[in-house]
């Protein structure tokens, strides 16, 4: 049985933030509220990263997802004035979509997660070791010259391409 300590308590708090925020995103009528719920959900994810001893990725989650993507979404909501003329939030097949989502979750839980990683499952569900790679090693892997330099540079190129593409797409053609 799971003992109640600071780690498990924090896990449940972050789980509630994560799932509750996600539910808020898909149900809220006002898109600004949806964006705030998205931020809450992403904060839950950042908390998971801290619990999983990946503090750098938690910082990146807050900076990139919350600081950049969520703010970008709020800008898009304001630029498109999409809150005003939305009589119906969901389309006509929303019950079918809910069924698909629920069945997918059921399939993942019953078919994959519990048989393989559940208590007495096929694979161990506790960490194999407490020897955790550090942020120093992550930096060395990216730019140290041996491991992931090429993927790192390709990712930079992709970001540059995406930025230029976004500018070209969103630019006013008459101007």
């Amino acid at each position: 049985m799971l003992e109640l300590n600071a780690t498990t308590l924090a896990f449940f708090v972050f789980a509630i933030l994560s799932v509750g925020g996600a539910l808020g995103v898909v149900t809220s009528r006002n898109l600004i509220h949806g964006a705030v719920y998205l931020i809450i959900s992403l904060f839950g994810g950042a908390g998971f990263f801290i619990l999983l001893s990946a503090p750098f990725l938690a910082a990146v989650q807050v900076l990139v997802y919350i600081g950049a993507i969520a703010i970008l979404i709020i800008f898009a909501v304001m630029l498109t004035r999409s809150m005003t003329n939305m009589a119906e939030v969901v389309n006509r097949q929303w019950w079918l979509s809910a069924l698909v989502g629920a069945l997918l979750l059921l399939m993942l839980a019953v078919g994959v997660i519990f048989p393989v990683w559940g208590d007495g499952g096929l694979l161990p569900n506790q960490p194999v070791s407490d020897q955790v790679a550090t942020t120093d090693e992550l930096g060395a892997a990216f730019v140290g010259g041996e491991d992931y330099v090429l993927p790192f540079e390709v990712a930079s190129l992709l970001l540059t391409g995406a930025m230029i593409g976004a500018i070209v797409l969103a630019r006013d053609t008459e101007a």
């Binding site: 799932v19 994810g45 999983l52 990139v64 999409s82 809910a98 976004a166």
Partner: protein
């Protein structure tokens, strides 16, 4: 570390499936993009959980998750630019109104 792996997987699967529901059911394109971000974030939690429980001394798991961040940022930038371009020509961000290619 007392939380077993399946709890992380279950929470991430729940967030992912909520994102799937949002993508399939919402009419507003910005809301669909927010749901996609939810799904990407859930996948990242899964990746890091597998890294921590399966191969924590190998840095590859964190590297992989970092690339997912990059893809998410690029996807959000291009997606929102497309939405703004569509809004400029159709005066709407409801996905049913974007039917130029309907035969």
């Amino acid at each position: 570390m007392t939380v077993p792996l399946w709890m992380y997987l279950l929470v991430a699967a729940a967030v992912f499936c909520i994102g799937v529901y949002g993508v399939l059911s919402r009419r507003n394109a910005v809301a669909i993009l927010m749901s996609v971000e939810l799904m990407l974030s859930a996948v990242n939690v899964n990746l890091i959980a597998f890294w921590r429980y399966g191969a924590p001394s190998d840095i590859a798991g964190q590297v992989f998750a970092s690339f997912v961040f990059v893809i998410a940022a690029a996807e959000a930038a291009v997606g929102l630019a497309i939405i703004i371009a569509v809004y400029r020509s159709r005066r709407s961000v409801v996905v049913e109104d974007v039917n130029l290619l309907r035969g």
